[in-house]
């Protein structure tokens, strides 16, 4: 239901109020509403719900895996991109299955429209167009959200997902304008409210490249980058069904010596190099000026031209984010091949915004300072739609569960990238905007995109976001996997001449003894396709994929599982939230301070805190042991 104004009668009390309708807010409000909680989503502009203010794509390495995890847990992002992509591509196909990742170019218009439809039609979910500017907190418990006009809306809990809108400041060269993306109003006072109630506020920065009018680009000077011929989907619930030839391509070009010259000559005019930026920018997503300064020996850099939508003509210049003033941007863009006469529709800009210190959060994403207050997305110092959505989903789920008196959902580092992400946030904190990378996961062979359902769908079902029908389908998949495994273990082939000739033709060694198909598949050169003819039954692609990966990479998977076991031993030793670490004898000062600040939930987490030494952990364990004995 949609309200532009609400009649706030005396008995209106929401279970969960979500502030902000970005990717985190969408997942949080949908999850809470679907779990039967009376939910309100407050957003500055309804038409900006699920906006993609930066790159027009969803997924990619690590991120694509999060999207699948969101799906397995019962979130919306995967389903939504499946309805709105322009192009699908599986990345890292030449590498191992652990790092394969799906990425879609999104139609920004369709993506938003589909998500808005879902939100506006969701039972238990109301949407209010307004600016939240203050919070009412009583006895360190969340009480109400205060709107710009002074209206108070009471709720049992709140999830704050304000993205880059907290004191948003847009920069072009030396120009600095108080604004959110798309000239939207920023939230000017909410971060002051957060500061007042005890949050540490930090300033972060991000940026976005210019958008070019499509008709003014000469694509003949670019290399075409089409989508994959094979069909893919993010969601486990859909079977892909589209015409791969109708996918919209991207294009690749390179910077020219002229581009580099322009940038070098005008470096001090950029907001960054001119010293106009206070916020800390992301290391992994450098501006073009950064690339040219830091990698001076590179003669050229790749630039991708990506379509944003079928409904308008903007082309996103991936790899060309900058904070140069507009006149310089014109020159820079025109120095690119095929863009000599390009017309800039939107200029690139840098944006600064307030974020909280994520160390002030529990692994449930509830704050340690104010009970029933959750935060998710860029406000926690992350970057990326997928990272935001993953947190939003967990925050929404946990806000709803707390109302029911249930334990929060905390995913472990060996269970999900979402688990790695949140654990990093609440254990290590954030200095520059945090992007999830595969290298942040210790056990990435276990955290594959293909097995996200196997890892997480049971959680999704137990939480209540995966329905019975869907879950039955999943259980069938599990049964089929077992069935195929058994079959492969029982079917034997014998060293007949015909068989051996066949194996030789596949570049595989002759058989001397009979061998099970299971063992035959262990040979690196033997694909499932080659042995299919020995099996009568038909199996789904997904089933085969799981079985084959588990057979082929068994050795490596066992190695990782061994490491996981070690970690879980430490995670079993729980630490109480009430534990005052200054009472633990012989702890180093820094350790006391860090442990009291972070309040790890178990020894495994305590171990990952920087500044806490193994010796401190010894003292802690000793203290726990003595207390237990008393």
């Amino acid at each position: 239901m949609l309200y532009n104004t609400i009649d706030f009668g005396s008995d209106i009390m929401y279970d969960v109020i979500v502030i902000g309708g970005g990717h985190a807010g969408c997942e949080a409000s949908l999850a809470s509403a679907r779990l039967g909680k009376k939910t309100l989503l407050i957003t500055g502009k309804i038409k900006n719900i699920a906006d993609m203010p930066c790159n027009p794509s969803i997924g990619g390495p690590a991120k694509g895996i999060i999207v699948r995890e969101i799906d397995a847990l019962g979130g919306e992002m995967a389903k939504n991109i499946d309805k709105s992509f322009l192009q699908m591509k599986m990345l890292n196909t030449k590498k191992g299955p652990a790092v394969r990742a799906l990425r879609a170019q999104a139609d920004k218009v369709t993506y938003q429209k589909e998500m808005q439809d879902t939100i506006l039609n969701q039972k238990n979910l109301e949407v209010l167009e307004a600016m939240a500017e203050d919070l009412e907190v009583v006895d360190n418990k969340f009480k109400a959200v205060v709107l710009a006009d002074g209206t108070q809306i009471e709720g049992k809990s709140v999830v704050i997902t304000t993205g880059t809108y907290l004191k948003g400041m847009v920069l072009y060269g030396d120009t600095k304008i108080s604004s959110g993306p798309h000239d939207e109003k920023p939230s000017l006072h909410l971060s002051d409210a957060l500061k007042r109630i005890g949050f540490t506020i930090k300033r972060l920065k991000t940026g976005t490249p210019p958008r070019i009018k499509k008709d003014t680009i000469d694509f003949s000077k670019a290399t075409i980058q089409p989508g994959d011929k094979e069909l893919y989907n993010f969601s486990f619930s859909n079977t892909p069904n589209y015409n791969p030839d109708e996918q919209i391509p991207c294009h690749l070009i390179y910077t020219t010596p002229e581009t580099h010259k322009i940038i070098k000559e005008n470096l001090t005019k950029s907001s960054m190099y001119g010293g106009y930026v206070e916020g800390v920018g992301p290391r992994y997503c450098p501006s073009i000026e950064d690339k040219i300064v830091k990698f001076a020996d590179k003669e050229r850099h790749q630039i991708f031209l990506e379509p944003e939508s079928l409904y308008y003509d903007d082309i996103y210049i991936q790899g060309f984010s900058t904070s140069m003033p507009r006149d310089i941007q014109e020159k820079m863009v025109h120095s690119l091949p095929g863009l000599e006469h390009a017309e800039i529709v939107k200029y690139a800009y840098a944006i600064e915004y307030d974020a909280i210190d994520s160390l002030q959060l529990k692994p449930s994403l509830e704050s340690k300072i104010v009970e029933n207050l959750y935060t998710a997305g860029q406000i926690n110092g992350t970057s990326g739609y997928e990272e935001a959505a993953g947190q939003g989903l967990i925050a929404g789920i946990n806000a709803a569960r707390k109302i029911d008196g249930k334990e929060p959902i905390v995913l472990k580092r060996n269970e999900a990238y979402i688990g790695v992400l949140i654990d990093d946030l609440v254990t290590k904190g954030v200095i520059d905007p945090y992007r999830l990378l595969t290298s942040r996961a210790e056990y990435r062979l276990l955290l594959r995109h293909d097995n996200a359902n196997i890892r997480l769908m049971k959680y999704g079902y137990d939480i209540g976001l995966i329905d019975k029908k869907e879950y039955k389908k999943f259980e069938r998949l599990l049964r089929d996997i077992e069935l195929l495994k058994e079959l492969l273990k029982t079917i034997k082939i014998t060293p007949k001449e015909e068989t051996n000739n066949y194996l030789e033709s596949l570049g595989s060694a002759k058989l001397l003894d009979s061998i099970t198909l299971y063992d035959l598949l262990k040979r690196p050169e033997i694909e499932f396709e080659s042995i299919k003819k020995y099996i009568e039954e038909d199996f789904d692609k997904d089933v085969i994929e799981q079985v084959v990966i588990n057979i082929k990479y068994d050795g490596y998977i066992s190695k990782e599982n061994k490491e996981v076991e070690k970690m879980l031993e430490y995670e079993k030793i729980l630490l109480s939230e009430d534990l005052d670490y200054s009472k633990v004898p012989n702890l180093a000062k820094e350790a006391v301070q860090k442990l009291n600040e972070i309040k790890p939930i178990n020894v495994g987490q305590a171990l990952r805190i920087s500044g806490v030494n193994p010796a401190d952990i010894t003292m802690l364990l000793l203290y726990l042991k003595r207390n237990r004995n008393e």
């Binding site: 590498k95 191992g96 992994y284 790749q302 690196p524 050795g555 010796a615 364990l621």
Partner: protein, 451 residues
């Protein structure tokens, strides 16, 4: 925390007995798998059991094994202590055997750490234990770390750095698959690096083991049929009047060692007692006993009698010597030659006689030559100085092999990187830079290895 840890509990070096201690779930079974004697899994707790440690039915050493079942043990876990002969070779061999079959080399102080974690002792006690273990070993430990200075540290550091760069590069390839600016790590990059590392590490290990021989001595077995003159050769080597043979009688573990120093290197003669005591009487040791000694020895002095024809026993021994460093001593050259060895390719043949010192100098020269003693003295080579370092380095070898195999089998680089990361961690442990993921090592690392 329950994996099996193992360490040599007694100080490394010469001693009548060495104790190898294991702790953790399944350690009794593990030892029993390599034990000839009573079934250790069935014996009462806190009993001492006599038998042999065997490796694929080959006897490594005669031992006494203490079996102590949880919880009344030092660590509150199942504990096994293997009392073996004090020779470096046998002790290391048993340690290696346990590590190769599932035990993990204990970190410094890990037994005490477990005792502490399992609630057996508290921290104060732990510190007391630390004091007990005394500063001498502590110094020795620090010293052994310090000895790993200079070039070798740099070599290991360089390896680690290269691996780290490789890892970082692989990661970037994964996270930024479409960026051409970044060099793509290929199988070839990995193959070359790993090959180089494997060769280099292998050389260092080999050299280190050589040098350990220099430091700890060379175990020499004198074998041959009764009455060929083993005893006289031994006595001449030891020097008739200053034989430093010691004898600890009264236990089944009697070990008698004689040793001499050659070019500063110690030669330890195995089972000198056997030779001395039985030479004049009927020798009770058969060929089997000799073979056992051959296996234990770094160097075999194989003695034949010039005055007798070759027997089947001799031929059997000759066959066993093929892969060993050995010297053939043909004794009693002053007597009539009945021996004909022309059918056999025997190495390093030296003639001696029973009365004069003839040939003994050539024997000594031969030993020096065989072990390159002079050369090693002069060369300043890079070596690991502690068993811990050698063991860690050796642990890298099979993983390096995994990497190579992975590369050959076209396993994707991101999989191979799992192994590369592990090697990187192990090399770090050699440098003492990170005891990976070990929870509370800092404090306890002040302990010497094993306790």
């Amino acid at each position: 925390m329950n994996d099996i840890i193992v360490a040599i509990s007694t100080s490394l070096g010469k001693g009548a007995i060495s104790i190898i201690r294991l702790s953790g779930e399944g350690c009794i079974q593990l030892v029993n798998n390599h034990f000839k004697g009573k079934n250790l899994t069935k014996v009462d707790s806190h009993t001492i059991n006599y038998g042999y440690i065997i490796d694929n039915s080959k006897i490594i050493d005669q031992v006494l094994i203490s079996v102590m079942k949880a919880p009344k043990t030092y660590t509150r876990e199942d504990v096994v202590e293997i009392n073996c002969h004090g020779g470096i070779a046998a002790t290391n061999k048993i340690l290696e055997l346990m590590i190769l079959n599932g035990a993990r080399l204990a970190e410094p102080g890990e037994f005490t750490k477990r005792a502490f974690l399992n609630g057996r002792i508290d921290l104060v006690e732990a510190e007391a234990v630390m004091d007990l273990i005394n500063s001498k070993t502590e110094k020795a430990r620090i010293q052994s770390v310090n000895q790993l200075e200079g070039r070798l540290t740099n070599i290991i550091r360089k390896f680690r750095q290269e691996l780290l760069e490789l890892l970082a590069n692989i990661e970037v390839n994964i996270d930024y698959p479409e960026y051409e600016d970044i060099e793509v790590v290929t199988i070839d990059n990995i193959k070359d690096k790993v090959k180089e590392m494997n060769t280099s590490l292998n050389n260092i290990i080999k050299e280190s083991e050589n040098r350990k021989i220099i430091k700890d001595g060379i175990n020499v077995a004198i074998v041959g049929r009764p009455n060929v003159g083993k005893s006289s050769i031994l006595n001449k080597l030891l020097g008739e009047n200053k034989a430093i043979v010691t004898d600890i009688a009264g236990t089944t573990r009697d070990i008698v060692e004689g040793s001499i120093t050659l070019n500063g290197i110690e030669l330890n003669f195995i089972d000198t007692a056997g030779i001395r005591n039985t030479e004049d009487v009927v020798e009770k040791y058969g060929v089997e006993k000799s073979i056992e000694e051959i296996n234990k020895a770094d160097l075999v002095i194989f003695v034949l009698n010039n005055n007798e024809e070759l027997t089947n026993d001799d031929i059997e021994l000759i066959n066993k010597l093929k892969n060993k460093k050995y010297i053939t001593v043909i004794n009693k050259k002053d007597l009539e030659q009945k021996l004909d060895i022309s059918k056999y390719e025997l190495n390093n043949v030296i003639y001696t006689d029973t009365i004069s010192m003839d040939g003994i100098e050539s024997l000594k020269d031969k030993i020096i030559e065989l072990f390159n003693l002079e050369e090693i003295e002069q060369n300043d080579v890079d070596i690991f100085t502690s068993t811990r370092q050698i063991t860690l380095a050796k642990e890298c070898l099979p993983i390096l092999k995994d990497v190579e195999e992975g590369v050959i089998n076209n396993v994707p680089v991101d999989m191979v990187s799992i192994d590369i990361k592990r090697i990187w961690t192990l090399l770090g442990e050699i440098l003492g830079e990170n005891y990976s993921e070990e929870l509370i090592d800092q404090l306890f690392s002040q302990f010497c290895l094993g306790k």
